[in-house]
């Protein structure tokens, strides 16, 4: 159920929206709701990914929040030219696999 709320927005932005809504023959309220949904979705993604990059959130925490699969998460990182939160130091400090795994010659 839609609930009313009040916000103050700059006059020039409001004028631009009103003009666009008139020209496009759109329903003003429905259009504003749609823009809010889209903007909120994009902003939420960006903020959560920023938290991931900073190491505040894990990949799965972001996936849970945004209802993404791990594959979707990776493709979103790619789309934004971002990388995993694994650091060079982590790669350098990573352990070796035990030698007993070495393939024996037949």
């Amino acid at each position: 159920m839609a609930k009313p709320t009040t916000i103050r927005i700059p006059e020039d932005l409001l004028n631009e929206i009103d003009q666009f809504v008139r020209e496009s023959k759109l329903d003003r309220s429905a259009y504003l709701r749609e823009v809010l949904w889209k903007g909120f979705s994009v902003d939420k993604q960006e903020r959560l990914l920023l938290k991931y990059v900073r190491g505040d959130l894990s990949q799965m925490e972001v996936c849970q929040e945004l209802k993404w699969s791990p594959w979707e998460f990776l493709s979103q990182l790619k789309a934004r030219n971002l990388h995993l939160s694994v650091e060079l130091e982590d790669w350098l400090d990573a352990e070796k696999l035990p030698n007993f795994l070495k393939k024996r010659r037949p």
Partner: protein, 133 residues
């Protein structure tokens, strides 16, 4: 599932073949030093309980927790280099993996470049001595 989640299908297959064992554990009482997703937290707990185990992850936060808990860890590019060193995979397969980890896995270019250097050193018979330098 195979088309949409090929990795999940592969894991499921390995479980049915017994190559991967699924363990259930009571995580009550354990809380990671860093907030993590349930799966990562349980993997950490399992590594602690099993002892002499290697915690494999691609999650920076989980690595921080592993460091805090003094758990040995490994990341995917290192697994590739190590599998090549241990002669479990061919040079061709090893060389192709970092590219996938870069493009699909989103590993940082610095790590990918270093992994490729390590692979070349292994191929040339030089030992990886990052930790000594």
């Amino acid at each position: 599932m195979v088309r949409k989640y090929p990795d999940a299908a592969m894991i499921s297959d390995l479980i049915s073949k017994g190559a991967i064992k699924v363990q259930s554990l009571a995580s009550a009482g354990f809380s990671s030093p860093i907030s993590l997703h349930q799966g990562e937290e349980e993997a950490l707990l399992l590594a602690m309980k099993l002892g002499r185990s290697l915690f494999a992850t691609d999650e920076g936060k989980a690595i921080k927790a592993a460091r805090f808990l003094r758990l040995p860890f490994i990341v995917t590019p290192k697994i590739v280099v190590e599998l090549f060193r241990l002669k479990r995979i061919s040079s061709k397969k090893a060389q192709g993996a970092p590219e996938k980890l870069d493009k699909i896995g989103r590993y940082s270019p610095e790590i990918i470049a270093d992994a490729l250097v390590s692979l070349m050193e292994e191929k040339d018979g030089k030992t990886d001595n990052h930790k000594d330098t």
